[in-house]
């Protein structure tokens, strides 16, 4: 599976996983022939809605689940035939989960998991200090887990995943349930971790577009167990056929804006007055970018000052909707066959 190159951080080959067939239940196909290659040093995103198969893929790659067919390697080791060598090189954080025991303190919890990976005591203390500082838990180091808030427990779980300084870390919805500020801290930490350790790899699953867009060099869009697209966020966004859309704000003193409809190349135009400022907000769809120059000239001629001008870019959500026909947070159709 290595194609003559150095072992990839993660490589899957026609990976398929089904559930339920053994118990004569309706078979649920969670992954269907997934082919994926995550390079060393890469932060790779797997973007998809709930039930797309992201967690199933992570479970297989972390040796918690066997594939039904196909294969997968992590750091060059087969997840089925050589799970121990895989486990020595990985760690995982599932967002929304907590780790440890209520009776232990935050520091004792990190120490517990450090020992399970054979991290020497002094190094474990150094890493714990750094991670506690990063997660804002330093002041809670000697607090029992039973006295932590849910958000703090999740931050601790996140720190726990990095205690072993893994070659490859699997982050399964790492910011799930965290507040905005904590999510931002977590994303900043991941970005720094990847930057400071160019040989380390991250496989991040998320259904938050911002997360994938901000952190990942490449993103795969997954739905119903299938990889629908795989490229850089920029290339994915460019792949969506979208007419140029401009958003303008013009001063309220402007003349009759309907006159803009005379400009050649404008496909549609809508406007409304801002309720607080009275400024007119325009959304103009044009055939090509150059048309906006004529629009600006016309506005100037009308005596309507332009306060703001921005071109709307497609987002990863746009890409997902274009490919799947529904939003990331929308429920799948009732006849969905995946879990």
């Amino acid at each position: 599976m290595s194609h003559g190159r150095s072992p990839a951080a993660v490589e899957t080959n026609a990976l398929t996983r089904t559930f339920g067939a053994r118990r004569k239940e309706r078979e649920v196909v969670a992954l269907q022939g997934v082919d994926l290659r995550v390079e060393r040093g890469e932060c790779f995103g797997l973007l998809g809605p709930n039930g797309a198969g992201k967690t199933t893929l992570i479970k297989i790659l972390t040796t918690l689940l066997l594939p039904t067919s196909g294969g997968a390697t992590v750091a060059g080791f087969d997840v089925v035939r050589d799970p121990l060598n895989v486990r020595r090189r990985i760690n995982m954080v599932s967002g929304g989960d907590s780790s440890g025991y209520g009776i232990l303190t935050v520091r004792e919890t990190l120490d517990l998991f450090a020992r399970l990976y054979g991290v020497p005591g002094a190094e474990a203390r150094r890493r714990a200090d750094a991670l506690l500082a990063m997660t804002g838990l330093a002041e809670k180091a000697d607090t029992r887990l039973s006295n932590l808030s849910t958000g703090m427990k999740q931050k601790l779980n996140f720190a726990r995943g990095f205690m072993s300084d893994p070659e490859i870390i699997f982050l399964d919805e790492p910011t799930l349930g965290l507040d905005v500020e904590a999510s931002r801290d977590v994303r900043a930490f991941i970005a720094r971790w990847v930057r400071e350790r160019p040989e380390r790899s991250v496989l991040l699953t998320t259904h938050y577009m911002v997360e994938a867009d901000e952190l990942c060099g490449r993103v795969a869009i997954i739905d119903k167990g299938r990889i629908l697209a795989l490229d850089t966020p920029h290339a994915l966004k460019r792949s969506v056929p979208m007419e140029p859309v401009f958003e303008l704000q013009v001063g309220s003193g402007g003349a009759e804006l309907d006159g803009l409809r005379d400009v050649l190349g404008i496909r549609s135009i809508s406007h409304h007055a801002h309720p607080a400022t009275g400024a007119i907000e325009l959304k103009i769809v044009v055939d090509e970018d150059q048309v906006i120059g004529e629009v600006l000239g016309k506005l100037k001629a009308m005596g309507a000052p332009v306060l703001h001008l921005a071109k709307s870019e497609p987002t990863l959500e746009t890409v997902f909707i274009h490919m799947v026909g529904r939003g990331l947070t929308d429920e799948p159709a009732p006849d969905s066959e995946t879990s």
Partner: protein, 273 residues
């Protein structure tokens, strides 16, 4: 990874998992009271009943030794056998399963921690029984009794390792299963009376449990013929060794089976998608 490195990591894992139990046993004050004072009161009730019935004083000694040993069996059921099930319910089991340590090290850590945790309860019952009820305990025979006690603990906790895997597969019924294993075994194990009282067949079946045999042997070491032993004392240590070896082997097999089955059917973790 070298052999020495593998050993080092696994010893670290045993210590780390045992430490959770040890810390828990001393940090939680309500636990200390609940696990020492209350069981002592339960044991005292049996002593007072025997005293009220004017039973031979040796029966009070049976109760004290049984009360000390029963603590270990309860620990095996509630903190050992059920543990993997609870760990799974809390989403913690998967964190252990993705580590590079042997699953047996995790179980061994749980067992050693449980033994340390439970010994405080056993000591309170034993010392309290001797001091408060003046139960005779010939200290000159303490060393061989302690040896058989350690052998018994080894076999009992190895059985706990097997149950831990089985409870995980039985899933939601773990709570009920633990209860099922608790009360009948309290009855047939002779914690509060000589197991020979159950008759040859009953005692023979009960003797399949290492805790029954161990208690029978320890009583014989301390009180000789008066202990109304079921099996000859000389048979008991070799049987316990055999059970220990068998249970450790079966525990390894059960653990591997549980893990493979869980990985095949997706039953090791809760979250899907």
């Amino acid at each position: 990874m070298t052999f020495a490195e593998t050993v080092r990591i696994n010893l670290g894992a045993i210590w780390a998992r045992a430490r959770v139990r040890v810390v828990a046993s001393w940090r939680e004050k309500s636990w200390v009271v609940g696990e020492t004072i209350f069981p002592f009161l339960a044991m005292s009730a049996f002593v007072l009943v025997y005293r009220g019935l004017k039973a031979p004083p040796i029966y009070e000694a049976f109760v004290v030794l049984g009360g000390a040993m029963i603590a270990y069996w309860n620990n095996v059921l509630w903190s050992m056998a059920s543990q993997f099930f609870w760990e799974k319910e809390q989403g913690q089991l998967q964190l252990y399963l993705i580590t590079p340590v042997s699953r047996m090290s995790i179980l061994l850590g749980m067992a050693l921690g449980g033994i340390v945790m439970t010994t405080s309860r056993a000591v309170v019952i034993l010392v309290g029984g001797v001091l408060l009820f003046h139960v005779p305990l010939p200290l000159d025979r303490a060393l061989p009794a302690f040896g058989l006690f350690l052998l018994t603990l080894g076999a009992v906790y190895s059985l706990g390792m097997i149950l831990s895997s089985l409870f995980l597969l039985w899933g939601r019924e773990a709570w009920y299963t633990a209860t099922l294993f608790q009360e009948p075994i309290h009855l047939v194990s002779g914690f509060y009376f000589p197991v020979r009282t159950l008759g040859t067949i009953g005692a023979g079946l009960a003797a399949l449990l290492p805790i029954t045999l161990g208690l029978d042997g320890i009583r014989q070491i301390f009180y000789g013929e008066a202990a109304h032993g079921f099996l000859p004392l000389a048979w008991i240590p070799p049987i316990q060794v055999a059970l220990l070896v068998l249970f450790v082997f079966l525990a390894q097999r059960a653990l591997a089976t549980m893990e493979n089955l869980g990985k095949r059917e997706g039953r090791l973790t809760l979250r899907g998608g």
